[in-house]
């Protein structure tokens, strides 16, 4: 296996592209569940058996599916992790920080390994050390085991036995031993790999009691020179045609040849089971299921948990050869190991929990019936579907076997099936293209509305104009709906961004030895994919900041009578057309005087400026580049670039970030972002001969005032707006520097009050045009240096209007204000 660790190696998997896609998305899901649950495990300990089961199940599913597609390294690592989890589940291994750390590390590695499936290229990551560490946990815990192993080297190593047990432990029916001998081709370059494949293949059928070479040699990919493999298999379930199945599975592995495959004695397979009462139960596989074989197997495994699976249709062989079609009915004959009603409930529950499977029917059957079905199974032809159809028909034609419960179940299943969301995967690029088209449509419908209004009164056929207006109105409504739908299809719950934060907070908190209670709220809040992609980094910065600078050390907190466990709350909600994200800590808050002193010592401001600074302005200093209040630079939160970058990045998205703080109580950062980045509502205004667009989310209000209301405060224009002073800037002067004021006494001015974060300012414009939806277009590099313009908008008449960069303009107002303040 040495050669496998070469970087950049192309990987091929034993699955179709659809299966791989399914594997990837399910894998991500399982990893996500594991990530969250392992963090919960750390907090709650091993007392919550439901949680333990869930973790174990997720790990197990992951192992099974990675094995199925032939991702050996992934299967191996999940196997090690699963072994550890099994011990935890059985309370033979205590939850420790080391254990959690190792499990979390494993998840990171697994994510990389999962990415390999996407890229098809093998990463440089190695798993051996991690596997050893994980195994070490178990071995350390159970010191006697290695000795045993040493004493009896021929015996199956502990972990493999365990493995077999836990996979199929409840699923085993009687002892029925098969001996299998295989030969690896002489010219095989990777005998260890083939041996592992064979091992895994055989393992699917039951517990491997003994193998030669021993399992650990096979599993850990030690240099394997032996060309002959010998397995003793304790069959998991008695199925007819097992020999065939075993052979065909093994022969499918390249360079492996089955020498012999025979039963090592014990009774005939069907005997024990047939004498017991068997229950026939079925599950339907959803018609859209891309991997029906896997689902069928899952159904059988589920049934095996509550009893002994005597036979199944499709047979194990068919399942193995993927001769299962979506929409198939999986029928099983099971001998329950619990009371019947309990069995039915458990099985229904278990099967309905598996995606794309729906429980159908459970009927106690006569032994003869079982025999008949079993016999049928024996003759299974490649046309398995036919058999399935027959079975389906049969079960449908036997209403007398159905009980009232079944009828209920059936109707219930029908309901669940219709409620199951029907999903289609869409390439993100396609959605983007769709969004662009909607953008163009919005431009044209605005143009159409304009034409209609221009025609109005300029034609001698008003009926046509009316018709046009009506049509344009309908188009407006339709395109609005279309836009909403397209936007919605691009929306993601913010959970997709938030879900990685608990882990991040945990790791960072551990690094600085602080105890932090991390609360996440509003995970369901939806936002546009393009926004979601961009907000992760700013939020990480804010969280880091809170952990590193915000929350005090445990001693400090205890000393001032605070709860030694710090609290960080991350929440998201919708507010009008914005998404608002708060990052709040209950730390020591930010001292504005300290900020001033710091900025002063760093030469970022002059003492003169500092003396005039209000609290609010001083707090803004934190967003200056080159500013860091941490006494020492830590590797967690940056070197004074963090907050600066946070603000820049958020403003790039037309958003804002503000902070509120109270000394000793904590700090809250509030990030506001538009729901989408492509289309915004804007207020159009005129300056000179040109139209400009103002993003509506930064507009507070538009007013018309008399020129004489404008006061000059320290040589700077301002008005009083509801008790607050609103500094003004003349846009015409801002852009062209020209002064051409109407000085007549009764002159009126249009003012648009805008805000950026906590700052407000008024823009004096020539006239107001109105509100419009605009599609934001980038202006490109040529205008990089243009101050005050953030982009271009295509208007309804096809003209381009510059979009005003409100933050830049307000900064300009602030700095102008500051300059003019007399010393």
């Amino acid at each position: 296996m040495k050669g496998k660790n070469m970087a950049g190696k192309q990987l091929t998997f034993d699955a179709t592209p659809e299966e791989l896609n399914l594997f990837i998305s399910e894998g991500e899901e399982q990893l996500e569940i594991l990530n969250q649950d392992i963090l919960r495990l750390e907090q709650e300990g091993d007392s919550n058996s439901e949680l333990l089961q869930e973790i174990f199940r997720a790990a197990h599913t992951l192992k099974g599916s990675s094995g199925a597609i032939g991702h050996q390294r992934m299967a191996k690592l999940t196997h090690s992790a699963e072994t550890v989890l099994d011990h935890v589940r059985r309370h033979t291994l205590a939850v420790s920080t080391k254990l959690i750390d190792l499990l979390l590390q494993s998840l990171d590695v697994l994510r990389t390994l999962l990415d390999e499936v996407t890229t098809g290229i093998e990463s440089e990551i190695t798993i051996d050390k991690l596997c050893d560490d994980l195994n070490g946990l178990v071995i350390q815990n159970n010191k006697t085991e290695p000795e045993q192993q040493a004493a009896a080297p021929k015996e199956q190593p502990e972990k493999s036995v365990k493995e077999a047990k836990l996979t199929l432990e409840d699923f085993i029916s009687g002892s029925h031993i098969w001996e299998i001998d295989c030969a690896i081709d002489e010219n095989c370059l990777m005998p260890a790999g083939r041996a592992l494949q064979a091992y895994i293949a055989v393992q699917q059928f039951g517990k491997i009691i003994q193998s030669s070479p021993p399992a650990d040699i096979i599993e850990f990919g030690k240099d394997l020179t032996v060309k002959n493999l010998h397995f003793e298999l304790d069959l998991a379930a008695q199925m007819d045609g097992i020999e065939q199945a075993l052979k065909s599975v093994l022969e499918k592995i390249p360079e492996i040849k089955v020498v012999s495959c025979k039963t090592a004695g014990a009774g005939s397979p069907a005997n024990n089971a047939e004498n017991q009462n068997t229950v026939s139960c079925s599950a339907t596989i959803d018609a859209t299921c891309p991997m029906p074989a896997v689902r069928a197997l899952q159904a059988i495994i589920a049934a095996g948990k509550f009893g002994t699976v005597v036979s199944s249709t499709p047979s194990a062989e068919d399942i193995d050869q993927s001769k299962v079609t979506a929409g198939t009915l999986v029928q099983m004959q099971v001998t329950p190991n619990m009371p019947l009603s309990e069995f039915i409930d458990s099985l229904r529950n278990a099967i309905n929990h598996i995606p794309e499977l729906a429980y159908v029917e459970s009927a106690q059957t006569q032994p003869e019936h079982t025999a008949a079905t079993a016999a049928e199974g024996k003759n299974i032809t490649p046309a398995a579907e036919k058999t399935v159809t027959e079975n389906t028909v049969k079960s449908a034609a036997e209403p007398k076997n159905s009980t009232a419960t079944d009828a209920e179940t059936q109707s219930k299943t029908g309901a669940t099936a219709s409620h199951a969301p029907r999903m289609v995967r869409i390439d993100v690029e396609r959605l983007d293209a769709l969004m662009n088209l909607v953008g163009e449509l919005v431009i044209d419908r605005t143009r159409l509305a304009r034409i209609a209004s221009q025609l109005n009164g300029h034609t001698d056929n008003p009926a046509i104009v009316e018709d046009l207006t009506e049509t344009s109105r309908r188009l407006t409504r339709l395109s609005d709906d279309l836009q909403v739908e397209v936007m919605r299809s691009r929306m993601l719950p913010i959970e997709s961004v938030f879900s990685k934060f608990p882990r991040l907070v945990r790791d960072l908190a551990q690094k600085v030895s602080k105890h932090i209670d991390f609360i996440v709220e509003g995970k369901d809040t939806e936002l546009d994919r393009s926004v979601a992609e961009q907000i992760s980094d700013p939020i990480i910065h804010l969280l880091r900041n809170s952990i590193d600078h915000g929350i005090e050390t445990e001693e400090e907190r205890t000393a001032i009578g605070k709860n030694p466990v710090g609290q960080i709350r991350l929440s998201a909600r919708h507010e009008e057309n914005q998404i608002v994200i708060d990052v709040e800590d209950d730390g020591h808050g930010i001292d504005s005087e300290k900020l001033k002193a710091k900025a002063l010592s760093k030469g970022l401001i002059t003492s003169e400026t500092a003396s005039h600074m209000g609290t609010r302005e001083a707090l803004e200093l934190i967003f200056l580049s080159g500013f860091s209040t941490a006494e020492k630079i830590s590797d967690i939160s940056g070197r004074g670039v963090g907050m600066d970058i946070v603000r820049t990045n958020i403003e790039k998205l037309n958003g804002s970030v503000t902070l509120e703080t109270e000394i000793g109580q904590g700090t809250r950062f509030t990030v506001r972002l538009p729901l989408t980045l492509a289309i915004i509502r804007a207020l159009l205004i005129n300056v000179g001969s040109q139209v400009y667009a103002l993003p509506l989310n930064s507009v507070i209000e538009a007013l018309r005032i008399e020129a004489k209301e404008i006061r000059s405060i320290n040589n700077h224009e301002a008005i009083e707006l509801r008790g607050e002073v609103l500094p003004l800037i003349r846009l015409a002067e801002f852009f062209d520097g020209k002064v051409e004021r109407n000085t007549s006494a009764d002159a009126r001015e249009f003012i648009v009050a805008v805000r950026w974060g906590n700052r407000r300012g008024g823009l004096i414009v020539d006239s107001l045009i109105g509100e419009q939806e605009i599609v934001i277009k980038s202006l490109g590099n040529v205008f990089r240096a243009s101050n005050g313009v953030s982009g271009g908008a295509v208007l309804g008449d096809g003209q381009v209007a510059p979009i005003l960069d409100i933050p830049a303009i307000i900064k300009q107002i602030i700095s102008a204000e500051r300059d003019r303040v007399p010393a």
Partner: protein, 167 residues
């Protein structure tokens, strides 16, 4: 003009390394851009001024939903600026990473220029910054300046970065 056309077609038959170019005039001089780089030629339309843009950048136009910057070549070459006329056109050219429009006084023709008639640029010719030139084609009755269209903007960007770092 008809003379030129005949002459060109004759050359087309003989030359192997011909280059096909779009010829346009700016302040009574002829300039040419390789035809492969010319996306389209459109009439002058209303240009939106972007405040704070470099002086030779006239503004932006909406080219079927795409917003592209438009440069006035007269200003770019520091030539006398005159009013745009009815024959003024915008030559839309593709640069490596973006599309830009160039305002010219008029587009005259598409020519085939044989490689052996192209001389390296000389600073003395045409009186414009030789950094934008790729060469000068000497046809019988006139000189055509071959523009290095990528440099027209890249030098611009360089200057801009310098300018913004000064601020």
């Amino acid at each position: 003009m008809s003379q030129t056309a005949t002459q060109t077609s004759q050359q087309a038959q003989t030359g192997l390394d011909d280059e096909q170019v779009v010829v346009f005039d700016v302040a009574n001089e002829f300039y040419a851009v390789n035809i492969a780089r010319v996306h389209e030629i459109i009439r002058l339309q209303q240009i939106t001024v972007i405040p704070g843009a470099p002086e030779f950048v006239e503004g932006v136009i909406n080219l079927r939903g795409k917003v592209i910057p438009v440069l006035d070549l007269r200003k770019r070459f520091h030539l006398n600026v005159s009013e745009h006329t009815r024959s003024s056109r915008i030559v839309v050219v593709e640069l490596s990473n973006q599309t830009i429009g160039l305002i010219v006084d008029g587009v005259s023709e598409v020519l085939r220029i044989p490689a052996d008639q192209v001389d390296p640029p000389s600073p003395l010719v045409a009186g414009i910054d030789s950094r934008y030139l790729r060469g000068i084609a000497k046809l019988e009755n006139r000189l055509i300046v071959l523009l290095d269209i990528d440099k027209v903007l890249s030098i611009l960007e360089q200057q801009q970065i310098e300018a913004s770092s000064l601020n």
